[in-house]
């Protein structure tokens, strides 16, 4: 008998899984990552809890301070700012300009992590001896740095120029730009340190140590400074500057303003808020002000409403200056003692004359009826300005005028009607003229009219009539969009107000020269006000760039030279470097120019020459007619082994292919190749090669030795002819043969002087022949984008030819077609070529690929143009030399 064995369910054995070596390896590999992660979390926590304020460390004895709300926001704006290029165009800013150009070229700005890291506030202090201290609170961005710093120390990680230092138990770094290979070159050293979330950087080691050790009274201990810097606004930059440096700017202002300011008391520092972009700039300066002069004190306590005249100004106003400080009566009473001697004397004389001739005092003659507002404005298309005075008492004014005109020596012309406006004209007495001349106003025989509360004067009846008609028709300045824009930014309630357009007038604060003034002029339309607000004086400026668009002169150009420029300018922009320009001057000078830094370098050649750029931008070649070959690196430093004196007499511009030069010799009609500094004879011909050889991408060379029995040759760089070549040239020509790149076949074109265009295949067989009906002196240009050949006839006809004999033509006027050259460039960066015509006159003409004229052309210049990025902003500028020894550059729309 078999016992039934009850099947037991299988027992799950609790076997422990053996941990294999792989899992240990993985754990060991992951361990550092977890350590770093934990370290990072701790750093984050420390950064979050760190509330140190840079102002607790920065020494308080500053000359000035700049506060930036977000470095990323500000740098982003500054790097793309046109005004920066203008401001830095002059030679004194060359170093900063170069840094700006280099910064613009860096790719890191587009990196979102970098943008986050620099999206922090920053304070920049300026101290004695031009020492600078930068302080930033990096907040949470400091977390990775907290972690990285110890690692840098432990592993002794080093970078060229970077040195870790320690003094008085304070750790910091120095970074030097010194190049051990070039000890003569000036170097700069900066010092920086991290303290918790705070980052400090200085040009002076002592200043940094003082800051880190809190060895001087910090800014936070100076209540006024601290308060000014603690103010948070929406501005891009807040600058704290010594008040006296602002007041110096008002030196050229109205005399009365200068006088008044001399009696005011300002604090040591003033705070200036700036917002800036390419479209607009706004400045706002608020400063506490006081005066011991009673009259001024009363003036300061006035509250101004918007000047009434604003509601009457016509929309065509291009500039206006409005003063509403008070009536002359009030001002004489309050400020009479502040008048300058010159004005006092004039007023005394005027008083005497008024008594004698008019039997009235000046008080009765003028002050009794003139109100609080007066000023001047000018309108578009009317060069003469209009002056206005507010009439406080019209009855008195009429009585005074009647009395004036009753005198035999004051003439009043009959009423004049113009544009339905009734005007009168008077001849102002000499003593009145002398008063107003003190204010630089010339009104010998003004037309005048009283309208509403104002009396208007002008030398131009037409201007006056137009102004009044416009106002009556309701065409007012205050209804315009421009006014709307300004009044949203600045309140028109002011004691002193200037509305300006630089096309018509330059306000006093924009007069003169200087980089700041030049860059402010970019914002061609603006409004500036001065308001008294009790204990505060508020100066505001809002200006907009409503200027021209299109092709405009680039700042810092034209460059005026002493000698005639060569026909070609070349630009080299090697990777990561700023652009360098090259051209020939006079008979035998080569010039290199760095637009970023404004530096020039010159080299002497041994004869007239041609210059060519290595395609990778690595070097510049110059070949003289005497056969000397120069190869230059940056700053016109000769490459080793150059110059190479070949003894050849070069007959035409050499061709450059990769690192090889193809040279045509006129003595024995030969063609040579210079490769690896070895000169090798390629071919010899029956007649000289007078036009530059063409070279295909594969290194095939096409040559036309000019002659009535001339032939067209194609051969390789070893001198071996292609099968089927040479072929007889269809006629004599001034140009070269040219390759027409096709994907799977070789095509060669040739244009004779008599206008016969022939296209050959790779075996020398004629594919197409066309008679273009003209005389031609230049080699045509092939555009692969639209498969079109462009050429210019001697009579100035611009022709576009496509295979299949499709022809478009346009006639150019006043052009020397014999000398003119065509240049294909993509100005609009849309992939289609534009055609620029150079050397046909002292202008460059521009056409689209369909031969329609381009907007903005012609432009002054004339030599062969080129495109190059001069300021590192990623956009090309157009550069062309002129026949007046000037090199010009233009920004493109």
């Amino acid at each position: 008998m078999t016992d039934k064995i009850k099947e037991q369910p299988p027992v799950k054995s609790k076997r422990r899984k053996k941990k294999g070596p792989m899992s240990w390896i993985i754990r060991i590999l992951l361990l550092p990552f977890f350590i770093v992660l934990i370290g990072f979390i701790i750093s984050l926590g420390l950064s979050a809890l760190d509330h140190k304020d840079p102002l607790d460390y920065m020494p308080g004895e500053i000359l000035g301070c700049v506060k930036v709300s977000s470095v990323e926001n500000l740098l982003g704006k500054l790097l793309s700012l046109d005004a920066a290029d203008i401001m830095l165009a002059s030679g004194q800013w060359a170093d900063i300009r170069k840094n700006l150009v280099d910064l613009r070229s860096m790719d890191i700005w587009a990196n979102p992590i970098f943008q986050y890291l620099i999206g922090i506030p920053m304070d920049l202090g300026l101290y004695d001896d031009d020492q600078i201290l930068l302080a930033a609170n990096m907040k949470l961005s400091a977390a990775p740095i907290r972690l990285a710093l110890p690692l840098v120390k432990w592993f002794n990680i080093s970078f060229p120029g970077l040195e870790s230092k320690s003094q008085q138990a304070m750790d910091y770094f120095s970074f030097s730009t010194a190049n051990p290979e070039r000890p003569d070159e000036p170097a700069q050293t900066i010092y920086f340190a991290f303290k918790g979330n705070l980052f400090f950087l200085s040009t002076a080691e002592n200043l940094l140590l003082t800051t880190l050790g809190q060895q001087a009274l910090s800014i936070s201990r100076y209540p006024v400074l601290n308060q000014a810097l603690q103010q948070q606004g929406t501005e891009d930059i807040r600058i704290l500057i010594k008040t006296e440096s602002i007041l110096e700017k008002l030196e050229d202002g109205p005399v009365q303003l200068k006088e008044i300011i001399s009696y005011l008391e300002f604090p040591d520092y003033s705070s200036l808020a700036i917002n800036i972009s390419n479209e607009e700039i706004s400045l706002s300066l608020e400063l506490p002000v006081d005066s011991s002069h009673q009259g001024l004190k009363e003036l300061l306590n006035r509250r101004n409403g918007a000047p009434a005249v604003l509601s009457d100004l016509p929309e065509s106003v291009e500039y206006a200056s409005i003063i509403s400080l008070g009536s002359p009566q009030e001002l004489m009473a309050q400020l009479g003692s502040l008048m300058g001697e010159d004005l006092k004397i004039k007023l005394q004389q005027a008083e005497q004359a008024s008594q004698l001739m008019m039997k009235m005092s000046l008080e009765e003659l003028l002050y009794s009826w003139i109100g609080e507002e007066w000023g001047v404005y000018g309108m578009k298309s009317y060069p003469e300005p209009i002056f206005f005075l507010r009439v406080a008492d019209e009855k008195t004014r009429q009585e005074v005028f009647q009395s004036i005109f009753s005198r035999f020596f004051i003439s009043q012309q009959d009423n004049i009607r113009l544009e339905d406006q009734q005007l009168q004209q008077m001849q102002l007495p000499w003593f009145i003229q002398s008063i107003i001349k003190a204010f630089k106003v010339d009104l010998p025989e003004p037309y005048f009219v009283v309208r509403g509360d104002f009396i208007y004067f002008s030398n131009s009846a037409e201007a006056l009539a137009h102004s009044l008609s416009s106002s009556e028709d309701g065409d007012l300045l205050v209804k315009t969009e421009l006014w709307d824009e300004f009044s949203r930014r600045i309140s028109p309630s002011a004691s002193f107000e200037i509305f300006y357009s630089l096309k018509r007038s330059i306000p006093f604060f924009l007069k003169g020269q200087g980089p700041v003034v030049d860059s402010l002029k970019l914002y061609n339309q603006g409004m500036a006000t001065l308001q008294f607000r009790g204990d505060n004086l508020l100066i505001s400026l809002s200006a907009m760039n409503t200027g021209e668009s299109g092709i405009l002169a680039y700042p810092g150009f034209p460059l005026e030279r002493q000698k005639r420029l060569g026909v070609k300018t070349i630009a080299l922009t090697p990777n990561g470097q700023s652009t360098r320009l090259y051209w020939l001057e006079g008979k035998d000078s080569l010039v290199e120019y760095h637009p970023a830094s404004g530096e020039f370098f010159t080299a002497q050649l041994n004869d007239q020459a041609w210059i060519m750029a290595q395609p990778n931008g690595e070097s510049l070649w110059a070949v003289t007619e005497r056969g000397a070959i120069y190869r230059y690196g940056p700053k016109l430093e000769l490459r080793p082994g150059y110059p190479r004196l070949t003894g050849l007499r070069i007959s035409c511009k050499p061709a450059l292919w990769r690192d090889s030069l193809i040279l045509a010799e006129k003595e024995d009609n030969s063609l040579y190749i210079l490769k690896d500094q070895q000169l090798t004879l390629l071919r010899q011909f029956q007649s000289p090669v007078l036009s530059v050889p063409a070279i295909s991408q594969d290194g095939l060379i096409a040559v036309y030795p000019k002659g009535f029995l001339g032939e067209l040759h194609i051969f390789n760089t070893q001198g071996t002819s292609m099968e089927g070549w040479p072929v007889k040239a269809p006629g004599i020509s001034y140009g070269s043969p040219f390759f027409i790149p096709q994907r799977d076949k070789l095509l060669l074109g040739f244009l004779t002087q008599a206008g016969k265009l022939t296209i050959f295949d790779g075996q020398g067989q004629i594919l197409e022949e066309t008679d273009l009906q003209g005389v031609f002196y230049q080699t045509p240009l092939w555009s692969p984008v639209n498969s079109t050949l462009y050429m210019l006839s001697e009579s100035g006809e611009l022709i576009g030819w496509s295979p299949g004999n499709h022809i478009t033509r346009t006639q150019l006027e006043d052009i020397s077609g014999e000398e003119a050259h065509l240049n294909l460039m993509d100005l609009q960066e849309d992939g289609s070529p534009e055609i620029l015509v150079s050397r046909g006159g002292a202008v460059i003409l521009g056409f689209s690929e369909n031969l329609t004229p381009l907007d903005g052309f012609p432009i002054t210049g004339g030599q062969d143009p080129l495109l190059a990025d001069l300021n590192g902003d990623g956009k090309d500028e157009l550069i062309t030399g002129g026949y007046d020894k000037s090199l010009r550059a233009y920004t493109l729309p």
Partner: protein, 346 residues
């Protein structure tokens, strides 16, 4: 009542008409009056720089009549400044310098910033250098008339590159008459801008054909190409010229007072070239290789045949239309200078 009202109404109307008479009614200066000023300016330009076929007396009369018809009672200072400056210009053309100055002063009183005022001030300043200094005091970026006049002054001072730069930009902004009147000086400036001239540039400003004698003398002056034959300019011209004929530089049947044609120039230049390159065997380099002439108006047996082919191949001269040489066409001094400079630079 009605009997009273009517006379009263009539009286009122009469009186109001009378008071209206006291008002001087003016019209604004319309754009048309400025166009008229432009017409006057065009005529004054033609009078100042007479073109061939211009009827000067009639033109002068027209200018004066048109000026007299202008609105001197205008209230527009800009218009008056322009008008008075044109009157000044007209007076200067009639050699009435006092009137010219007087009108100019009036113009400046109206508006001294107007372009025409500054222009006329420069025109009546007869000294070229002073006129140029006056213009350079002013910002002329948007003043194209002044740019043209400055270009004309620079042209006369020999600054051809600068002159042509100002001309070409200004012409694109001005009425066509400016281009018509100044094209000659502009074209000459364009031609001269790159030329090396050792002698007097004024010699080349005429487009009259040069003589054989001048061709030889200009070559002696502007180059060293004849130094060997002329013994460094020591040989008197009356001996040099026949020597050149003997040596084949000049045809025997060409006296020194004959005008130079393109064939003569080709022969002369070719002989200078082979002398310079030291290849006397090139004198008849081409004729043995041709059965027929490749140039339609130059037969194989022409005395100029080899010279022309040589000059054209070396781009010292060209075929003006790509096919014909035009050997009989006369040359100006400037034409010859350009060819000589090409030879010097070869």
């Amino acid at each position: 009542m009605k009997k009273i009202i009517l006379p009263v109404a009539l009286l009122t109307i009469l009186l109001s008409c009378t008071s209206l008479q006291d008002d001087l009614v003016h019209q604004s200066s319309s754009p048309e009056v400025f166009l008229e000023l432009q017409e006057i300016e065009n005529d004054l330009l033609l009078l100042t720089y007479p073109q061939e076929g211009t009827d000067l007396p009639n033109l002068f009369q027209r200018v004066n009549e048109t000026l007299d018809n202008q609105q001197e009672n205008s209230l527009n200072r800009q218009y008056l400044a322009n008008l008075y400056s044109l009157r000044s210009w007209a007076a200067w053309l009639s050699k009435d310098n006092n009137s010219a100055k007087s009108w100019l002063d009036k113009a400046m009183e109206q508006d001294s910033r107007e372009e025409r005022v500054i222009l006329v001030q420069a025109i009546i300043t007869e000294d070229i250098q002073k006129a140029l200094e006056g213009i350079e005091q002013v910002e002329i970026q948007d003043f194209y008339r002044l740019q043209v006049y400055k270009a004309w002054l620079l042209y006369h001072l020999g600054q051809y590159g600068e002159a042509v730069t100002l001309y070409d930009k200004a012409f694109t902004e001005l009425p066509p008459i400016y281009g018509q009147i100044f094209h000659e000086s502009r074209d000459l400036a364009w031609q001269l801008k790159d030329q090396e001239i050792l002698g007097n540039a004024v010699d080349y400003l005429s487009d009259a054909p040069i003589l054989m004698e001048e061709m030889v003398k200009r070559t002696l002056q502007e180059s060293i190409l004849l130094d060997g034959i002329s013994r460094q300019n020591g040989l008197p011209f009356r001996q040099l010229y026949p020597l050149l004929q003997q040596r084949g530089f000049i045809l025997e049947n060409k006296p020194s007072q004959r005008q130079v044609d393109r064939g003569d120039a080709a022969l002369f230049l070719w002989m200078l070239f082979i002398e310079k390159e030291n290849h006397p065997e090139w004198q008849y380099k081409y004729s043995p290789h041709f059965d027929e002439s490749p140039i339609e108006d130059l037969p194989l047996d022409s005395p100029y045949f080899d010279a022309v082919l040589g000059c054209v191949e070396r781009e010292l001269m060209s075929l003006p239309d790509g096919s014909y040489f035009y050997p009989g066409l006369l040359l100006s001094g400037l034409d010859y200078l350009e060819m000589l400079n090409r030879l010097k630079n070869y």
